[in-house]
């Protein structure tokens, strides 16, 4: 803060500098937050029941939406890919085409987006409300680390549930593709699954696995961070929730491209 008003020419520069400092500062706090949370994961005591509760919160409660979106994604894929392949007379490859797109790309990404919408936003709102009603301060003054109780269990639960949700999404999606391709469009069942076994190898599955694992960290990290650093009042919680979902979604897509270009 300067006491004398700056010359007009410098004001823009000043604003830019402040903006840059702010961004760097926020990034630093964002990173430190994860570091501190990981530190509480690695040191005892471990809050086992909080961890189980978070698995229920993030995983079990997102199950229905995962099954629903997984099924329809598979069906859409089945139909569209069939219509494309049939032009080249290679509709026999419908099975591997559906399976590979699901396992390598769509499964991890769409499952992560769905869990973000279903559980990530709720996580931010819950922690945000705990912040503005001083429940987090109450933990702090009990000499207990709120990160250990609220953030660490969520991140660990993200690591466990995201790969599981992705696996469920993939399986239901492949079945959706089967429904359309085999039951509706008359492809033979043997072709659909047989070609799949030929073309999908472990490496594809591992690609999807690593992706979903990292999305689990990214989403729970962003959502708990936004909840922890909520603004004032109900409006602050609303904004934090929106921010958390938007930032998580963007990071999922950016990180997915990055992983896709690094992983085999």
């Amino acid at each position: 803060m300067t006491d004398r008003p700056l010359p007009l020419a410098l004001r823009a520069l000043d604003a830019l500098g402040q903006r840059a400092t702010y961004v760097v500062d926020s990034l630093g706090r964002f990173g430190t937050f994860l570091g501190q949370a990981l530190a509480t994961i690695l040191t005892p005591p471990f809050k086992f029941w909080a961890f189980i509760d978070r698995i229920h919160y993030i995983g079990y409660r997102s199950l229905l939406i995962i099954v629903l979106t997984g099924g329809f994604t598979g069906m859409v894929l089945g139909l569209q890919v069939y219509l494309t392949l049939v032009r080249f007379g290679s509709e026999a490859y419908l099975g591997p085409a559906v399976a590979l797109s699901l396992i390598r790309e769509l499964g991890p990404v769409l499952a992560a987006l769905m869990v973000t919408g279903r559980a990530g936003s709720a996580l931010t709102a819950e922690i945000g409300i705990m912040r503005i009603t001083e429940q987090i301060d109450a933990l702090t003054v009990m000499a207990l680390n709120p990160l250990r109780y609220l953030v660490a269990p969520s991140i660990l639960a993200g690591l466990v549930t995201f790969p599981l949700m992705t696996a469920i999404f993939d399986v239901v999606g492949i079945f959706g593709g089967y429904l359309v391709g085999v039951e509706l469009l008359g492809l033979s069942q043997g072709t659909y699954f047989g070609e799949m076994q030929t073309f999908v190898d472990m490496q594809d599955i591992m690609t999807g696995f690593w992706k979903s694992l990292s999305f689990g960290v990214v989403v729970t990290w962003v959502c708990t961070y936004k909840g922890f650093n909520v603004g004032h009042g109900a409006e602050g919680v609303a904004k934090a929730t929106t921010d958390a979902v938007v930032l998580s979604s963007v990071l999922i897509l950016v990180w997915d491209y990055f992983m896709g270009s690094v992983l085999p």
Binding site: M130, E134, D137, A138, T140, V141, M142, A143, L144
Partner: protein, 247 residues
């Protein structure tokens, strides 16, 4: 002994504390009074290390806590009990679990001992049988009492109360005040209490401090405050409207 020296705190352009000095002797009950929005909660948050001052120091038994972070600060907080203005109950837990929480997580007591102490604590605040309810299912006054039970159940050395009786009916105000007095006689904790209950607090306070415009305008035993010649204090404890002074 808690010692506050030259405490200064601003939020943006708004200066809330302006070089505040205060001493809280060990084992005494000190009540802080002052206008709503005057910075009483802000002062309390500095004492418990939730806010860090722009200038000045807070010393607890000679240890400066203003610069402390992490584990060193937690060591001081181990001795604290805090009743927040809004109660700050964990709303995902039942009332009994709220009271049990510090016993389990902080003191690591065995389960039967926790159950016994929680029942006794809820009984003391007149809430026996309400333990199974969630904070959202009980009245504001009941939440306050659960918060008091949670703060005192660990038998802390130093207790901070932020308006523990605001919003309670007159009978409950006296009940809570007597409860605090009883427990104080039993455990001899040091208490810092923010309260608007005038004149009731004059019966339980050892020292009353009036916060005005970011400083302590007057501090002393209740009779001295009641007989004060300071117009700010007189106006406040008589509840005269703001423009009455000039007439």
């Amino acid at each position: 002994m808690i010692k506050v020296q030259g405490l200064t705190k601003s939020f943006g352009r708004q200066q809330v504390l302006r070089g505040l000095d205060l001493e809280v002797p060990t084992g005494s009950i000190t009540v802080i009074i002052g206008r709503s929005g005057g910075g009483k909660s802000v002062l309390l948050k500095h004492l418990i290390g939730l806010l860090h001052p722009d200038a000045g120091r807070v010393l607890v038994d000679g240890v400066e806590i203003t610069g402390l972070r992490g584990r060193a600060l937690d060591e001081i907080r181990q001795r604290y009990g805090v009743v927040f203005q809004g109660g700050a109950l964990f709303d995902s837990m039942r009332c009994a679990e709220n009271v049990a929480f510090p016993l389990r997580e902080k003191l690591h007591l065995p389960r039967p001992e926790i159950v016994r102490r929680v029942e006794a604590a809820l009984h003391q605040v007149g809430l026996e049988g309400m333990g199974a309810k969630y904070p959202a299912e009980i009245s504001g006054g009941m939440r306050k009492r659960v918060a008091i039970a949670r703060a005192l159940v660990t038998e802390p050395e130093i207790v901070f109360f932020d308006e523990p009786t605001t919003g309670l009916d007159p009978i409950l105000v006296n009940t809570i005040h007597h409860l605090i007095l009883d427990l104080h006689q039993k455990f001899r904790f040091t208490a810092v209490m923010v309260s608007h209950e005038i004149p009731e607090i004059f019966e339980i306070a050892d020292t009353v401090a009036m916060l005005h415009e970011g400083r302590i305008a007057e501090v002393g035993p209740p009779p001295a405050i009641q007989a004060s010649s300071n117009p700010v204090v007189r106006q406040f404890i008589r509840g005269e409207p703001e423009n009455a002074e000039g007439r």
